[in-house]
C-alpha cells in the first residue's frame, strides 16, 4: 500500500473483546495522518457474547459510506479465529488478514451443535480469498509485555507494520486511549505486535 491510498479496515471478534476500542484508535490514527475517517459499529444485543463487526475507513479526500463492502477491506483484523473464518469474504484479494491466535468456543459447541474448526482452515480459506494471512499471538505477546489485556494493542502493533505511516503516529494515538499506569505495558505490547509481523 502506498501513502495516501484509501484504507478500509474491518474488525471482527466476539462481544467484550475490545474491538470497539481498537476501531476508535484506528479512526484516530487515520485522522492524525491527515485522512478523512469514518467508523461504524453495532451496540446492544450482539455485544452479549455474539459475533461483532466494526468498520473503519480512511480516505485522502472524503469518506462517504461508513461501512466497508464485501471484499473491500484492505485489512481484516480478527480478534478470534472462528470469526476470522466467518467474515473472511470481507478482505479483498491482495489484502491482509491479521488474525489473533485466540479461540473462544461458542456456546453452540458446548451444547453439542457443531465443532470448532481446526487452525488448518485459516490458511486454506485466506488463500482461496487471495489475502495474506498474518497470525499474531496477541494474548501471548500481551502477557509477556505484562498484561493480557493489552492484546488488542499488540494486534494494532501488527496492523501498523502493514501500513506506510510512521510508528510514532500510531503510538501517539494509542497512548491517549490506554490507562496511564499501563503505558509501559502497552508500549511493549505494541512493539511486540509490530515485530511479530516483521518476522512473517
Amino acid at each position: 500500500m502506498r501513502a495516501h491510498d484509501p484504507v478500509n479496515f474491518v474488525l471482527v471478534g466476539v462481544g467484550g473483546q475490545g474491538t470497539l476500542l481498537a476501531s476508535t484508535i484506528l479512526a484516530e490514527v487515520g485522522l492524525a495522518a491527515g485522512y478523512d475517517v469514518k467508523k461504524s459499529e453495532v451496540h446492544g444485543m450482539a455485544q452479549r457474547g455474539g459475533s461483532v463487526l466494526s468498520h473503519v475507513r480512511w480516505h485522502p479526500q472524503h469518506v462517504f459510506s461508513p461501512i466497508v463492502g464485501m471484499a473491500e477491506a484492505d485489512i481484516l483484523l480478527c480478534f478470534e479465529k472462528l470469526e476470522a473464518l466467518r467474515f473472511a469474504e470481507y478482505v479483498r484479494p491482495g489484502g491482509a488478514a491479521v488474525v489473533n491466535d485466540m479461540a473462544i468456543v461458542p456456546i453452540t459447541v458446548s451444547a453439542g451443535a457443531g465443532t470448532y474448526p481446526g487452525d488448518e482452515h485459516l490458511a486454506e480459506v485466506f488463500k482461496a480469498v487471495g489475502a495474506k494471512l498474518v497470525v499474531v499471538p496477541g494474548e501471548k505477546l500481551a502477557q509477556e509485555a505484562g498484561n493480557v489485556k493489552a492484546a488488542n494493542v499488540a494486534l494494532l502493533g501488527a496492523v501498523s507494520h502493514l501500513l506506510p505511516l510512521p510508528e510514532e503516529t500510531w503510538w501517539e494515538c494509542v497512548k491517549q486511549r490506554v490507562p496511564a499506569k499501563f503505558l509501559e505495558v502497552n508500549r511493549k505490547a505494541f512493539a511486540a505486535g509490530r515485530a511479530a509481523v516483521k518476522q512473517v
Partner: protein, 613 residues
C-alpha cells in the same frame, strides 16, 4: 475545532449548542448514548424518564414553559410515546421541541424495523434526517429553529448507521436562549385538547404542513447536486452516502427534510435528469410521495425494502438495474469453508437470570417474556421463553391467556427496568382482574441490555446522584397482590421453594428474583472463578445444559462414560455457583467449599506477613 464524534455524541453536542434546557429519554439501542453524552454538559437538565411517553410529556412541559426541550428514544419507543407525539403536534409549544427517533434497520437490537418517517406523516410533524455525524450535530439547532418558526415539534429521525458511525465534526459554541415565558401559559384554546379546541387546531396543523412544504423549497437542508444528468437520485439519510459512493457521477437531490417534501424542487430535479431513482432505506416513503406527484421514478423495484442497505447491496442492485456504478459488483469468491458453529448472543457467565430460566425450563411451564437481556432465555439449551413482543407486553399476554381459560398456569418474566417502564400498569391489571399469573421480576438492579443505566429501582439518577428507591415489594403489595416473595436469584433451592409456594395459590403472585448484574463494575471486582475437580466429574453434561459460556467441554474424556469432562474458563467465570449447586457429583466446589478444603490441607509453606500489614 474538529473532533471524531458518533452520531449520538453529535446529536448531544448539537442539543447543547442549541441551548436545550431539558432533555428526557428512556434507554434503547441505538439511541441510548444521546442522553448519556448530553448529561455531561453543563446547563442542561437531563433525566432517564420511566418510559418514552413520559419523556415526551416532560419535553412538552418544558417547551410549554418556554424552554427548549428534547426527548430521545429508539424507534419502537415512539410507539409507546405515540399518544403524546400526536397531542404535541396539535398543540405546538412556546419554545422549540425536538423528538429524536433512532430507527434500527436490520434490527440489530430490536423487535422490528418500522420506518418512523411514517410517524412524521401520520402526526403532521416535520422530519429531518441527517446522513452523517456532522449533520447529526447541525440538524439539531436547525430543528429547533424550525420548531419555533412553525410552532411544531420536529422529529429528528436517525438510523443505527448514523447513530453508531463516527466521523469528524466541526464544533460550535452554545448559544444560551432566554426563556420565552416567565409564567406557564394559560391558553386553553391552544393547550387543552377538548374536542372543541382540537377541532379548531386541526386546520391550523394542516395549514402548517403546507407552510412547511413551501419553506422546504428554499431550505438549505435540501439541495440538488448536479452532475451527469442521465441518472438522478433522490435520497436521504445514510443512503445518501451509499448513493455518492456507488453512483459517483449521478446527480443527487439530497433531502435533509423528508417530511413534508418540496414539490417544486422535486419537479425541477425530475425534469433535469433522464432516469429518476429513489434510494432510501426501508419503506418507499419518498418514492410514494414522488409517485403521488405524478412523476415516474424507480425505487423499491431496484433496491430492497427489508433490511439495511450497504455499499455491497446498493452496488449489486444498481448494477442489475443498469445504473452507472463506480465499478462492477465484486463477485465474492465461493470460498470452501468448514461448517462454522453459530455464535448467537447469550446470557453472560454469571447472569443472575440463568437460575430462573433453568427452573422454568425444568418445570416446562408456559412463559411470556419481555424486552431485555433476559429475552435470551429463549435460546437453547434453556429454551424457557415462549413470547416476547414489546416492552411491558408479557404480563398482559399471560393475563389474557389465563382469562381465556388455558389449562395451565401462566408465568410472566420481566426485568426491573422494564417493569417500571410499562410492566406496572399490566401488573395492576392482573391484580384488579384477578388472574392466577405468576409474575417473576428479574431484578438485576440495573438496565443491563443498553449498558447499565440507572432506573427507579437503583436509587440513582442518570447523573449517578442519589434518588428515591422505588421498592418493588411494597409497590406490588400496594396493588393488592398478597402472594409476594423475594429470593436471591443465585440460590437454586430457595428459588424453587418460593416458586412452588407461590404456584400453590390460585391467585396473582409475584416473585422478585434479585441479584446484581454480574457485569456491573463493582460486581466484576468480586469475581472468583470456580474449578472442576476432574476426578469427580463424570461428563454427565448437566452443567452444559444451563447454557453458561464459561463452561466448556474439556478434551479429557471420562473413563467410564467416554464423554467429555467439564472445564471452566477462568477468564469468564464469575463464581455465581449455579453450576456448583446443580452438579450431582460435587465436582464444582463452591467458594466456601474451596476455602474449607484449603484450610484442611497440610500447610506446605508458612506465609509470613510483616507486622501491621
Amino acid at each position: 475545532m474538529k473532533r471524531v464524534l458518533s452520531g449520538n455524541e453529535a446529536v448531544a453536542r448539537g442539543s447543547w449548542e442549541a441551548g436545550v434546557k431539558v432533555a428526557a429519554a428512556y434507554p434503547g439501542t441505538p439511541s441510548t448514548e444521546i442522553l448519556e453524552e448530553l448529561a455531561r454538559f453543563p446547563h442542561v437538565y437531563c433525566e432517564w424518564s420511566t418510559n418514552e411517553k413520559v419523556a415526551v410529556d416532560v419535553a412538552m412541559g418544558a417547551a410549554y414553559a418556554g424552554r427548549r426541550a428534547l426527548a430521545a428514544m429508539k424507534h419502537v419507543g415512539l410507539n409507546v410515546a405515540a399518544d403524546s407525539f400526536f397531542y404535541a403536534s396539535s398543540t405546538g409549544a412556546e419554545a422549540g421541541v425536538v423528538i429524536v427517533s433512532a430507527d434500527d434497520p436490520a434490527m440489530h437490537s430490536s423487535q422490528n424495523e418500522q420506518d418512523n418517517r411514517r410517524f412524521a406523516q401520520f402526526a403532521r410533524v416535520p422530519c429531518l434526517e441527517p446522513s452523517d455525524s456532522q449533520e447529526c450535530k447541525d440538524f439539531v439547532p436547525a430543528a429547533f429553529e424550525l420548531s419555533e418558526l412553525f410552532d411544531t415539534p420536529v422529529l429528528l429521525r436517525t438510523t443505527t448507521r448514523t447513530n453508531h458511525s463516527s466521523g469528524p465534526v466541526e464544533l460550535g459554541e452554545r448559544i444560551e436562549r432566554p426563556p420565552r415565558r416567565d409564567k406557564f401559559p394559560r391558553n386553553p384554546e391552544k393547550y387543552v385538547m377538548i374536542p372543541g379546541n382540537a377541532r379548531r387546531r386541526h386546520p391550523i396543523v394542516e395549514q402548517r404542513v403546507r407552510d412547511l412544504a413551501a419553506w422546504a423549497e428554499k431550505s438549505s437542508l435540501n439541495r440538488i447536486e448536479w452532475r451527469d444528468r442521465a441518472v438522478g437520485v433522490i435520497t436521504a439519510g445514510v443512503a445518501y452516502q451509499y448513493a455518492r459512493e456507488v453512483l459517483p457521477d449521478a446527480s443527487v437531490l439530497k433531502l435533509g427534510m423528508v417530511y413534508p417534501l418540496p414539490e417544486q424542487l422535486i419537479r425541477t430535479f425530475a425534469a433535469g435528469v433522464g432516469r429518476l431513482i429513489v434510494l432510501e432505506e426501508l419503506d418507499p416513503v419518498i418514492e410514494d410521495e414522488v409517485h403521488l406527484l405524478g412523476i415516474a421514478c424507480e425505487g423499491k423495484t431496484i433496491f430492497p425494502l427489508c433490511g439495511e442497505l450497504d455499499p455491497t447491496v446498493v452496488r449489486r442492485s444498481a448494477a442489475a438495474a443498469g445504473l452507472p456504478v463506480d465499478r462492477p459488483p465484486v463477485l465474492v469468491a465461493e470460498v470452501a469453508k468448514p461448517e462454522l458453529p453459530a455464535r448467537p448472543p447469550v446470557l453472560c457467565a454469571g447472569c443472575p437470570h440463568r437460575g430462573v430460566f433453568q427452573l422454568l425450563s425444568k418445570k416446562k411451564v408456559a412463559v411470556t417474556g419481555d424486552i431485555g437481556c433476559y429475552t435470551l432465555g429463549l435460546l437453547p439449551p434453556l429454551s424457557a421463553i415462549h413470547t416476547c413482543g414489546c416492552m411491558g407486553a408479557g404480563i398482559g399476554v399471560a393475563h389474557g391467556a389465563a382469562q381465556a381459560g388455558i389449562g395451565e398456569r401462566m408465568v410472566a418474566v420481566i426485568g426491573d427496568s422494564t417493569f417500571y417502564h410499562t410492566g406496572l400498569p399490566a401488573l395492576a391489571n392482573v391484580a384488579y382482574n384477578k388472574a392466577n399469573v405468576l409474575t417473576i421480576i428479574l431484578d438485576n438492579r440495573t438496565t443491563a441490555m443498553t449498558g447499565h443505566q440507572a432506573n427507579p429501582g437503583t436509587g440513582l439518577t442518570l447523573q449517578h446522584q442519589r434518588a428515591e428507591v422505588i421498592e418493588l415489594e411494597p409497590l406490588v403489595r400496594a396493588l393488592g397482590i398478597h402472594h409476594v416473595a423475594t429470593v436471591d436469584a443465585y440460590d437454586v433451592e430457595h428459588l424453587e421453594q418460593a416458586y412452588k409456594e407461590l404456584m400453590a395459590h390460585n391467585e396473582p403472585a409475584v416473585l422478585v428474583a434479585r441479584r446484581d448484574c454480574a457485569l456491573l463494575p463493582e460486581i466484576r471486582k468480586r469475581w472468583v472463578p470456580l474449578e472442576v475437580i476432574e476426578e469427580k466429574c463424570t461428563g454427565c453434561g448437566i452443567c452444559f445444559r444451563i447454557g453458561c459460556p464459561a463452561i466448556l467441554k474439556s478434551d479429557e474424556l471420562d473413563e467410564n462414560s467416554g464423554k467429555p469432562l467439564a472445564l471452566i474458563d477462568a477468564e469468564m467465570c464469575t463464581g455465581c455457583e449455579l453450576c456448583s449447586q446443580l452438579c450431582p457429583h460435587g465436582a464444582i466446589p463452591t467458594r466456601d467449599q474451596m476455602r474449607l478444603a484449603e484450610e484442611h490441607q497440610p500447610a506446605s509453606c508458612t506465609v509470613v506477613t510483616p507486622e501491621g500489614s
